[in-house]
């Protein structure tokens, strides 16, 4: 039976059901409920919760536990998530599967508590040093958050790479009716062939080559494989659309309302909703018709971030020099009426293209 659950609590419970054995984190609004929930629930099931001294320490605790093959996670927001960037690099460097949850709040520095998508670049480009990528899940409902959380470790272990769940303040704070999957367990630590187990330097690539040998090529191959295999999206009325919107997370829901309103007026608009924002769903753009008139990124940023990926995908997948527009609503999820008005201005030629 469905029950009303708050987004942040649902993340925490879904993590437990996905086999998370260890959580380390430091409180920061608007994701504090994740840790609060797990502080009680983890020990209840004989699992481990540590309130770390800071966000960095939490991540290095994950490095330790993750190296032994244990399913573990941390969560944060805003400046707290910025502090995790160095460690994400170390985890990528050492090929340690772990799960990061960012419930995005607006702005750089202290920012504000408003719901936003301003950490999009940080998530998809990486805020640490070096060349690495993380698969980034971007749910737009609490049920989808649960479902994606449930498979996060499976993907992390498949590629031996950290993965990220990108939530946003409003999605963490709101409630929806959801159902949870059954509890499952991760693979046995002793059965994984790469883990740190106290014996010696056996945590090589899967064929016995030490981790530091031929690394650039292996990194590139891994990134390319993830890009090829893990693109995920939902298309809504794209095929015949003269204008195609692109939005992920909560803005995708209000944009879809806007699409419905415009369709009711006979205006052919569609929506591509990335479910993973890295790898970005380039393949989704293959469905766009040849004589499409414009692509519109709708996002909760100040100056446009997602729009750059939208432009790259348009360049690669759509013939002709199709203009790409951006509607950035900063600290507020776009309202359907705002999106409708913007799209109408685009159609009227009153908006300037970004790319």
């Amino acid at each position: 039976m469905k029950e009303l659950w708050k987004g942040n609590h649902a993340i925490a419970e879904a993590a437990m059901r996905a086999g998370c054995m260890f959580y380390a984190g430091y409180p920061i609004t608007p994701q504090t409920e994740v840790g609060e929930y797990l502080s009680g629930r983890m020990p209840e099931l004989g699992r481990k919760f540590i309130q770390a001294e800071n966000e960095m320490a939490a991540c290095y605790m994950l490095q330790g536990a993750g190296s032994t093959g244990m399913r573990c996670m941390t969560s944060s927001s805003g400046p707290g998530f910025a502090l995790k960037q160095e460690a994400i690099g170390y985890l990528c460097s050492n090929w340690i599967p772990t799960v990061f949850v960012n419930v995005i709040r607006w702005g750089p520095g202290l920012g504000s508590l408003d719901s936003a998508q301003t950490d999009y670049f940080q998530a998809t480009r990486g805020g640490g040093n070096g060349d690495y990528r993380l698969p980034v899940f971007a749910p737009n409902s609490i049920q989808e958050t649960i479902d994606l959380m449930y498979e996060a470790w499976d993907m992390a272990e498949k590629y031996r790479n950290p993965v990220m769940i990108l939530s946003e303040a409003a999605l963490g704070q709101m409630m929806e009716a959801v159902e949870f999957p059954e509890f499952k367990e991760g693979p046995k630590q002793s059965e994984m062939d790469w883990v740190w187990d106290g014996v010696g330097d056996r945590h090589s690539f899967n064929h016995g080559t030490p981790l530091y040998v031929d690394k650039p090529r292996r990194v590139r191959e891994k990134i390319e494989t993830m890009q090829e295999n893990e693109q995920r999206w939902e298309s809504y009325l794209v095929e015949d659309a003269d204008y195609v919107c692109v939005a992920y997370g909560l803005p995708s829901r209000t944009t879809r309302e806007a699409v419905d309103q415009l369709r009711a007026e006979g205006i052919k608009v569609g929506l591509i909703r990335p479910i993973m924002v890295w790898p970005f769903p380039f393949k989704a753009f293959a469905e766009i018709k040849k004589d499409v008139k414009g692509i519109i990124s709708i996002e909760t940023t100040d100056a446009g971030q997602v729009v750059e990926d939208v432009a790259l995908a348009t360049k690669k997948m759509v013939d002709g020099n199709v203009p790409v527009y951006g509607l950035y609503t900063a600290q507020k999820v776009v309202r359907p009426s705002e999106a409708v008005a913007f799209i109408k201005r685009v159609i009227a030629g009153e908006e300037k293209e970004v790319f």
Binding site: K2, E3, L4, P30, W106, S112, L113, D114, S115, A169, A170, Q173, M174, M175, E176, A177, L250, P251, R253, T254, R256, E257, Q331, K332, V333, V334, R335, P336, S337
Partner: protein, 177 residues
Amino acid sequence: MEIIFAGFGGQGVLTSGLITAEMALSAGKNVTWMPAYGPSMRGGKAYSVVKFSDGVIGGPDYDTPDVVVAMNGPSLEFADCLKDGGLLIVNTDAVDTVPDYNGRIDVVEVACTTLAESVKNIKAANIVSIGAIIKARQIFDIEDAKVALKDYFVSHGKGKFAEANEAALMAGFECVK
């Protein structure tokens, strides 16, 4: 259906939204509930938004609500975004003068606090407002709503207040003609 419950912090507008969401869920609807968040919470202002529908629900925040419950004067600002023909419930115990909306919207005046007091449950002014909406807009069967209300308090370990809260719900329900 899109409802805003607005008032000062402490008037229970998050709870009244949540209870309404639970009532909608038990009526088999898709539901979202969102608390006011960020700067909008400053200055003691609080609100929550409930949306329910048989179909897909878009964003959880308000856009053009069907119903606004204004538990205090400052909350009347939400009335401006009500759709034409929408319903404004005004808590006259905390609002001195109700503006004239020239018939654009329906206005129902409810003395929420006085009615709550009359059933010896002064804290339940927020629940009175739910009863008023149910009567004015027939969003739920009142008997089903009573069951959902009771379930809410029982599941939150406050079952002993269920009866007093039902009285508040009915006081709101019955005051609307």
